[in-house]
């Protein structure tokens, strides 16, 4: 609730910028620890200068995770087994993507905007590959389909709800496999197919606790980590051996 009040203050103070929409996150830091099993992300926002926002306006919220490269390999039959063939590499692909909107994105935003703001899974990282729809297209389609199937990409309707007057909330779920890194949250306000306001916020997903220490040690000082693994295994085995000596 406190954030909510802060948000309203922010909103009225930034009203001078005349942007028709403003948002804030309840948490701008999501912590992934050993028992992380996904998180709910709530985004608060307000639109200005409207009496009946629910009927006259449409909102699209896009959460984009850190970028990374993916290899997509076609499975080929060699003899009796299926094995992956040559990799097709796709760079600058977000490792996480979620879009929430009041209605279907194609009904809200014009096509150029969909491509420009990456609205909808079909429009993610579209620029380079859409241009050459030839050889890369099936790989790109496979990548998007796989990430959507794994829950890394999602598109949802009805997650935007108007609370009271110009105030709305967007509730979205981050899956257990949420990648760590910097996230961008962007919200677009449309009226009759025209973009009339936008705002953005940032979000960080961090590893914390023992889980983080183990990860960092393993990747920054791998030899020390390897020695520790061996030492822990030797000790654990010795304890187990002594504990069950009688039996």
């Amino acid at each position: 609730m406190r954030q909510f009040i802060v948000l309203i203050c922010c909103f009225f103070s930034s009203a001078a910028h005349a942007d028709a929409i403003a948002i804030a996150l309840t948490d701008d830091l999501i912590e992934v620890d050993a028992d992380f099993s996904g998180a709910d992300l709530t985004l608060f926002g307000a639109v200005s200068g409207v009496d009946d926002p629910a009927s006259a306006f449409d909102i699209i919220a896009v959460i984009t995770g850190p970028n990374g490269a993916y290899n997509v390999r076609p499975l080929e039959q060699r003899g009796i087994i299926w094995m992956p063939g040559d990799a097709f590499r796709l760079d600058n692909v977000p490792r996480f993507y979620a879009a929430s909107s009041t209605r279907s994105i194609t009904d809200i935003a014009p096509l150029p905007d969909q491509a420009k703001f990456q609205l909808g899974i079909e429009n993610i990282a579209a620029v380079d590959l859409r241009a050459s729809e030839g050889s890369g297209y099936p790989y790109r389609a496979a990548l998007l389909e796989t990430l959507e199937f794994q829950g890394q990409y999602r598109e949802a309707l009805g997650e935007v709800s108007f609370v009271k007057g110009p105030l709305f909330t967007i509730k979205t779920a981050l899956p257990p496999k949420t990648p760590v890194g910097e996230y961008a949250v962007s919200v677009y306000l449309y009226q009759a197919g025209v973009l009339i306001g936008r705002d953005s916020a940032e979000l960080r997903v961090n590893r914390v606790g023992l889980e983080r220490r183990i990860y960092e040690l393993a990747h920054t000082r791998p030899i020390l980590y390897g020695l520790l693994c061996v030492a822990v295994s030797l000790l654990a085995g010795w304890i187990a051996g002594v504990a069950f000596r009688k039996s």
Binding site: D35, S37, G68, R73, W82, P84, P176, G226, G237, R245
Partner: protein, 303 residues
Amino acid sequence: MQIYLPIAEIPVDPFVIVFLGAAVGFLSGMFGVGGGFLMTPLLIFYGIPPAVAVGTEASQIVASSVSGVLAHLRRRTVDFLMGGFLVAGGAVGAVAGIFIFRYFREIGQIETFISIAYVLFLGVIGVLMLTESLRALLRNPDRPRQRRKHRSAGWMAAMPFAMRFRRSGLYISPIPPIVLGFLVGVLAAIMGVGGGFIMVPAMLYILNMPTNVVVGTSLFQIIFVTAIATLLHASANQTVDIVLALMLLAGGVVGAQIGARAGRRLKGEQLRALLALIVLAVCARLLFGIALPPSAPFVVEPA
């Protein structure tokens, strides 16, 4: 409840993992085998990335072999000199294995490679064990079994640097144990197994070591070789998940105790036939995994 594995980077159910450890521990206690050859495929079936399954299993075998070797040290059934040569060969083998592993990981074929290696390994071992145990079960009980002769083969004594292995009562060249150690070291590094499966029969039938020192010496060698493999996997590939290893171990030590008790009620031939069937079932599951048409036409992996 879920625990997020720091290296595998996926959430797992700790009860399932501990249960998996206990189930494989039960079988390994019952049959007197290490269990790595079952655990690694099971981890892959559960969804652990194959490279992490192999690296982690190596560290778990270190732990289970230490608890196993303690009893043999007390009974003085470890041939340290023989073990030393096996370890020397094994260390070089593990390094070679890691290079092979890295190569297949870089070209993106590590999953296929691990699957094929397991299908071949489990298929051959399973068929050999099954035929051997069925023959033993069907053997006419009136006919006395052939007794194995305890003497070292002449060709191993004729090789250079022949020396006396007092605890094994052998006079042979250290070259055969070094070569054997090397082969098992390669297997340990690329498949996440201890290699006792290969090592014990080879020590009995090729090196002609007496039965009482075979298991202790094999465990002694496995500790060192899997420890080296763990260190190499952790430093070269970052694929050892210690949290996963400890959960498996917790289940494994308890399972092994129960399994050892259960094993005493069955005859050796019956045990081996049963184990052979389990081995062949895992082999078949892996084979179907790579031979049946895939559910998706593409594999997508972070680069």
